[in-house]
Amino acid sequence: MSTPVLTQAGAPTGVPASARRRPRVGPGLGLGLAVLYLSLIVLFPLTVVAWKGVEGGAGAFWSAVTTPDSWAALKLTLGASALVAVINVVMGTLIAWVLVRDRFPGKALVDTLIDLPFALPTIVAGLVLLVLYGVKSPLHLNLAYTRAGVVIALLFVTLPFVVRTVQPVLQELDRDMEQAAFSLGAGPWLTFRRIILPNLVPAMVSGAGLAFTRAIAEFGSTVLLSGNLPFKTQVAAVNIFGRIESDDTASAAAVSTALLIVAFAVLIGLDLVQRWGSRRG
């Protein structure tokens, strides 16, 4: 819908009655500046990467992406991220449940700490995990330079997503629904499975999707813990970084473009899922 302000020169004949009653401020100059800012910082650079990634044609793009080390890194990244998304669905929902339905001393503190991975610099996240799960692990659990270490790092940085998407839904969930199910003869487990869970699924899916896109993009937390062994623990972002450092920006752009495509596909998928969900809801 376009506003009369945009058409300039104020021809009042075409102005709908509703717009006259509620005059809206025109976007004008502010919109121009905002678009310019967004373009200079985000859109132009990303377009250049994508362009650089595909400018040699599909064949060149494909061969850059499938060089053995990049291909291994992409496979590891996607596999580990999928695993992390699944673990997050289970643990994130469980944590959200405990935060909403349980009461214990220190709950408010735990609730606050959930967001720590968002606030903590990723390099620090990697370092703190290395202290507990590295060579000198006080638990005698050395995950440094292993794929398990990569998964732990990704679990750390993606912890809040599912918790924070499921928690508000659980809070808003009509408790009467559960009582209605009880009075209709359903036990606690049946009520959870047939009444509560279906209402949480959209939030769980969107939390898992966000965790997945974050995980495939992750760099800082895996740098120290994974040891960046090509073909073993090197994730895609680290692979791209190595190519930038060796001035191979063309293939770095190709792998970056592959990552961007996956991320956008997931986000568009999530949007579709949400729209499908809200149509019913």
Binding site: G30, I41, P45, V124, I240, F241, T249
Partner: protein, 262 residues
Amino acid sequence: MAKYLLRAIALLYLLFLLILPVGLIVWQTFGDGLQNVIDALTSEEAIHAFQVTLQVAIWAVVLNTVFGVGVALLLTRTNFPGKRLLNALIDLPLAVSPVVVGLALILAYGRYSTVGGWLENAGIQVIFSIPGMVLATVFVSLPLVVRAIVPVLEEMGDDQEQAARTLGAGGWQTFRRITLPGIRSALGYGIVLCLARALGEYGAVAVVSGKVVGETQTLTLFVEERYLNYEVPAAFAAATVLALLAVGSLLLTTLLRPKDGN
């Protein structure tokens, strides 16, 4: 019974993934005495890294706050073609790997790019210097202020603003006296989030800064460099500072977060 089992699982998971690691590094940092920490943090490079970090973060926060408030107002108070697209594009940076952000900026504004060439001729170096690091930091923290205040602006509606207009207030007066007080705590929340992200950015800055010790090294880069050079106490000390800043910003956001039912 099930209740205690679930609680135990949740708390153990958080303990081993989150609380023990972060607690352990703070404990190990101060384990060798406070003097070592102070020494590690007052080295010339450390102080310089602090300064660079602060400089970059402040630029990023100021720019994103102005942009954030402006765009939030555009999205909630005006109509224009392409509004949905703009709304979607705001979130774009969240889906991009920090390394890709760095690469994108190098390709767009580096010395060998067209635009970078012009800037170089004009005597402006973007990549491997502060402007590029500011760009990278702005990129990664761009949606935070917008997303913090849009819901509050939406909920507030424009009734109060229209009332102010009918009482004779101009655009700026309405913004300063009606809109701004209404979004104050949400704006504070967004700014703290943005600041925390800016202080802690590592990947994108690692790519565009060139990691020049004593010049473009930020605190996060300092942590990495010291750790890789086996100066573990210095790395731990700086990491602890960053962790404490993160915890501090968390506590601040808890205070500022729009509360339910308020």
